[in-house]
């Protein structure tokens, strides 16, 4: 949450000669960050980043208080001047005070409730200073009474509300939890249907306030208002938060209540409101003060009300800071920040000021306070020492090297969103109920966690197909598969697509990859239909019997969907499984001393006879003399007959003790030929 602070307003409470820019620097280095410093004609605006632990920074006075501590420590001349009227005595100005009957049904909803009625109010526009300040802070001025509530919220960080006293029937308010489906028309004219557990105020069987978020229209201040209820509370932040989430409706007030406010400062905020109402609206106090403080409530009021002492050993402080600072110095810093800090045996015992109680619980919280004011820039800088843990890295470290290899093989890496649309999910043939679906998607384009990378890659080809005709892309990313009751399966996948390419081109590429990764793969025909691949033009690859991926021609259903011309050769490989499989261990074999005999065998086979099986047969019958088998030519031709193909094998015959004799070679060759003829009904070509 960011707030805008006009520096002239800040200077009303922080008296110092330090220039705005310098001040912003001091604050950013030791306190809240000043994200931007906007120069206007007659003003400088600080844009302050308010972190969720420092609700006290969502106020101009709070910022002045913080700046005052920082400047004092840095030796700058400065003084904190609190707003007027904080300690105004709230007693009726008239002899017969007006009644206000308040019932709080569930005490945990509202740890502290204050209200007072003022009379004789003249509704008009606020003085220029107030109007200007509101406007510079990004809030529209409305009338003097409504402006007071906004002004107090900005000044003290305490949201407040105002009712027209005469619109509260029978002067009775019941603060309670809403029932599901109850309705209230809020000040912005919207009718809001409430969930359960919102905090509301009921008056005469109607709702007049959606507490902590926005008031009801039926009780709002109008030009004719004469008597006003000034209303300052703190609410259970969880109820406020849940309500704003369910209604998707968050106001400036709600943002502050969700974080919690300074419970001790509530009467002061009310007093300040009364002071301003008297000053700019001619108001007179017309009721007794209502102040219901639920100190007894253990769950909510605890942190706020109990003065909790936190202890910090100086040794721990110094081990965090890496230097030795004196305990008195640390104590001084805490005191400057409004803590009450005392020293006891090299330990600091500190009690946080009321505006910091929810943020200060452990010794490390005190360390942060001391360290930031002392100045992080004053601490030395050193490299980690100690033992470097000896642990293996994850598969990701291998991916870095793999990606480089892919680049050198000519592939371009893409990165696509892992969240896909229903349309893409449909292409993967995953049923919606089996997919990982987002409960709160941002748009319909991003609804499901993808079970495959391929559809996203096809999408990239589609987008680029008019720019190039030989795109080769890849991606390495996790896919997400649903598992019953467990964490989704999140294996690392590698996928690639070659535009206008063939099965053999991508197969050769995958063979290269396996050689780079020192893995041995088995190629088999795809057995079942696959939504992503053409069944008859795709191989499934296994390593040690486990399937690790598919390589082939992308199913035309998918490429047609994207209106892609030409054939897409693609693959998807499970890297988690691949990296888990053992690497081939390359051991040294003696370099042959005697030259080999190299001969070719050509034969005609049925065109569907798998070359892999032919080689396996040759290997079996040629062993041990045949050391190497290469396929050097495969072709089909009318001359050799339809449904036939010619395959030429180059065989290397070699022995370690001498050159093989022609007789030996002939014997083995004949054995191989016979085998091929028998197994494949091959016709050996002479």
């Amino acid at each position: 949450m960011n707030i805008k602070v006009p520096v002239s307003w800040l200077r009303e409470y922080l008296k110092t000669d330090v220039a705005a820019k310098t001040l912003a620097g001091y604050l950013s280095l030791s306190g809240p960050t000043i994200e931007r410093l906007e120069k206007q004609k007659d003003e400088i605006i600080f844009e302050v980043e308010v972190t969720s632990n420092r609700y006290d920074m969502a106020s101009i006075f709070g910022l002045a208080r913080e700046a005052n501590s920082i400047l004092s420590y840095r030796g700058e001349k400065c003084q904190l001047v609190p707003p007027k009227g904080l300690n105004l005595i709230l007693e009726p100005d008239i002899s017969s005070p007006l009644p206000l009957d308040v019932v709080i049904k569930n005490k945990s909803l509202c740890p502290r409730f204050t209200a007072i009625v003022v009379d004789n109010v003249k509704i008009k526009s606020s003085p220029a200073t107030i109007k200007n300040r509101l406007q510079k802070s990004g809030i529209r001025a409305i009338n003097n009474i409504v402006d007071i509530s906004n002004y107090i919220m900005l000044e003290l960080g305490q949201p407040m509300h105002t009712f027209d006293y005469d619109k509260i029937k029978k002067n009775r308010m019941i603060l309670r939890e809403s029932k599901e489906g109850e309705k209230i028309k809020t000040l912005d004219g919207q009718i809001r249907k409430l969930p359960q557990n919102a905090i509301v105020i009921e008056n005469d069987q109607r709702l007049i306030d959606l507490c902590g978020i926005m008031g009801g229209e039926n009780s709002q201040i109008t030009k004719r208002t004469k008597r006003v209820v000034l209303f300052v509370q703190t609410y259970n932040p969880i109820n406020i938060r849940k309500t704003t989430q369910v209604l998707s409706f968050r106001t400036e007030a709600a943002a502050r209540f969700e974080k919690g406010v300074d419970i001790e400062a509530i009467p002061q905020a009310l007093a300040r409101a009364v002071y301003l109402a008297k000053k700019i609206a001619g108001a007179k106090i017309a009721s007794e003060l209502t102040d219901i403080y639920q100190t007894a409530n253990p769950s909510i009021a605890l942190r706020a009300s109990k003065k909790q002492e936190t202890s910090l050993a100086i040794s721990k402080l110094n081990s965090y800071l890496g230097i030795d600072i004196k305990i008195e110095e640390a104590q001084k810093i805490l005191n400057l920040l409004g803590f009450s800090a005392k020293i006891q045996n090299q330990t600091i015992l500190a009690t946080a000021p009321s505006w910091r109680t929810s943020d200060i619980q452990d010794d490390v919280d005190l360390i942060e306070e001391i360290a930031r004011i002392y100045g992080y820039w004053r601490l030395p800088s050193k490299l980690p020492s100690g033992i470097v843990p000896d642990v293996p890295e994850s598969e990701l470290s291998k991916v870095i090297d793999l990606k480089k290899a892919l680049k050198f093989l000519g592939l371009t890496e893409v990165m696509t969103y892992s969240i896909i649309s229903k349309e893409l999910l449909f292409l993967t043939d995953t049923e919606e109920k089996n997919a990982i679906a987002l409960a709160n998607p941002l748009t319909s384009e991003w609804q499901f966690m993808r079970p495959t990378l391929l559809v996203s890659l096809v999408n990239v080809i589609a987008k680029n197909q008019n720019l190039k005709s030989d795109i080769k892309i890849f991606e390495v990313a996790k896919t997400y598969l649903k598992t019953e009751n467990e964490l989704p399966k999140q294996d690392l996948m590698f996928a690639a697509i070659f535009q206008n390419s063939t099965f053999y081109e991508i197969k050769g590429f995958i063979e290269n990859i396996f050689a780079i990764l020192d893995r041995d793969a088995k190629w088999q025909k795809l057995e079942k239909e696959d939504e992503l691949f053409e069944k008859d033009q795709t191989a499934q690859i296994t390593v040690l019997g486990q399937e690790i991926g598919r390589v082939g021609i992308l199913n035309s259903k998918v490429s047609d969907h994207f209106a892609i011309a030409g054939q897409l050769a693609s693959c998807e490989i499970n890297l988690t499984r691949l990296f888990d499989s053992p690497q081939i261990l390359n051991t040294y074999k003696n370099i042959p001393k005697y030259p080999p005999v190299i001969e070719d065998i050509s034969a005609i086979f049925d065109s569907k006879a798998p070359v892999g099986e032919i080689v396996a047969e040759v290997k079996k019958s040629g062993s041990p003399l045949v050391k190497k088998i290469e396929i050097i030519d495969v072709f089909e031709d009318e001359k050799i007959g339809t449904g036939k193909k010619s395959v030429t094998l180059r065989l290397t015959y070699q022995r370690s003790d001498r050159t093989p004799t022609q007789k030996e070679v002939t014997l083995v060759r004949e054995k191989i030929s016979a085998r091929l003829t028998k197994t494949f009904r091959a016709q050996i070509r002479k």
Binding site: G25, L29, T33, S52, N53, I238, R241, K259, Y320, L321, G322, I323, D362, V364, E368, A371, Y376, W377, L379, P380, S381, K382, L383, P384, G386, V388, P389, P392, E393, S394, E395, L396, S397, I400, L406, G410, L411, T412, E413, V414, M415, Y417, S418, I419, I436, L438, A439, N440, L442, W446, V460, L467, K468, I471, A477, Y480, N485, P488, Q490, L492
Partner: protein, 340 residues
């Protein structure tokens, strides 16, 4: 004599065939036809033969000589051809291999990992869809805590598990913190975790998916100066020696104290310009691991302390290159990808 000629012929021819360079070919030529060369000797032998045999052997030698001369000439031109092509236009393009391109995010990750490895950090990988417990609860962010709002989280339709809660897309890599503590059980820990993260936002500097980078160091006597030193080491190596870092107080529930780490702006060198905050660019968040987080990871906070940091990889790319709209990184226009 017949045999002599054949033998000399064959051995010379074999030599010519096997010769690799011109100089050696010339040597063979001299050995064959030079003074005292083998054929010169053979020719001289003719005079020792009976007269009637002389013409026949003379012819034989001549045929062999002629044959060999042809061989020499052929080899000579062959060897010359291998070596020289005459004029070369050195400005004409060479024969290139097709190279691909790595995504900018991968390049940045590689560089980051390389730098932190030198400090003994190990790259690990943790789930990108994880239980609420690891993502929030164990990191000191109880349910309904307003700090959770900062993470703009995507939730997964899933059933609730006791303790672990529901499934979320990780909005940061910090889920790796507790998981690493559980995995190693005992410090020292020096972990890097790089993963895809997801948040419900998209604009010029945010994409719903991005990469985050997480470091975690747990040991005895880990101090804020160690964290500063680690960042200084990284910054000068990643961004260059002129760039420096600073820590700015901040708030994260899982670290205490917490900081944001800034690096001096490259555009204005720290003087302040419209692209930066007063001369500084925000790099990421960091802090000393909160004792409650250590406890949740079953590590004794009275013995060990640590620091953690995390930031968007895309942000560092924007800070280092001129990619001014982060969404470009995920549009996968080939004209963009091929620039890097």
């Amino acid at each position: 004599m017949d045999q002599n000629i054949r033998k000399t012929f064959d051995s010379t021819k074999a030599k010519v065939t096997s010769v690799k360079v011109l100089k050696d070919l010339q040597q063979v030529y001299i050995e064959t036809f030079g003074k005292g060369g083998q054929f010169t000797k053979l020719t001289k032998e003719i005079s020792k033969l009976p007269k009637r045999d002389r013409p026949r052997f003379g012819k034989l030698i001549n045929v062999a000589k002629k044959n060999l001369e042809t061989e020499f000439a052929r080899k000579r031109s062959e060897l010359k051809k291998e070596k020289s092509q005459g004029y070369i236009d050195v400005t004409a393009p060479g024969k290139k291999r097709a190279l691909g391109h790595l995504h900018l995010v991968s390049q940045a990750i590689e560089e980051i990992v390389y730098i932190f490895r030198q400090l003994g950090f190990h790259l690990q990988s943790y789930p990108e869809i994880d239980w609420d417990w690891y993502v929030f609860e164990s990191l000191n962010m109880p349910k309904n805590h307003p700090a959770r709002d900062d993470w703009e989280t995507f939730f997964v339709k899933s059933s609730l598990k006791p303790k672990l809660g529901s499934l979320v897309l990780t909005p940061h890599t910090s889920n790796g913190q507790i998981r690493e503590m559980e995995r190693l059980k005992h410090p020292p820990i020096r972990m890097l975790n790089v993963a895809r993260c997801y948040r419900r936002q998209i604009d010029i500097s945010h994409t719903p998916m991005f990469h985050q980078f997480e470091g975690l160091l747990i040991d005895k006597n880990v101090s804020i100066p160690t964290l500063k030193g680690t960042f200084d080491y990284f910054t000068t190596r990643f961004f260059g020696p002129q760039r420096i870092t600073r820590l700015r107080p901040h708030h994260f529930r899982f670290t205490e104290p917490s900081f944001e780490v800034d690096v001096t702006c490259s555009i204005c060198s720290g003087r302040g310009c419209r692209l930066c905050k007063d001369g500084w660019l925000e790099l990421g968040g960091a802090g000393m691991v909160h004792p409650k987080v250590l406890k949740n990871g079953k590590i004794d906070p009275s013995v060990y302390s640590g620091f953690a940091f995390g930031w968007g990889v895309e942000r560092t790319i924007a800070m280092k290159t001129d990619v001014n709209d982060i969404r470009l990184l995920y549009q996968n226009d080939i004209r963009f990808l091929e620039q890097f």
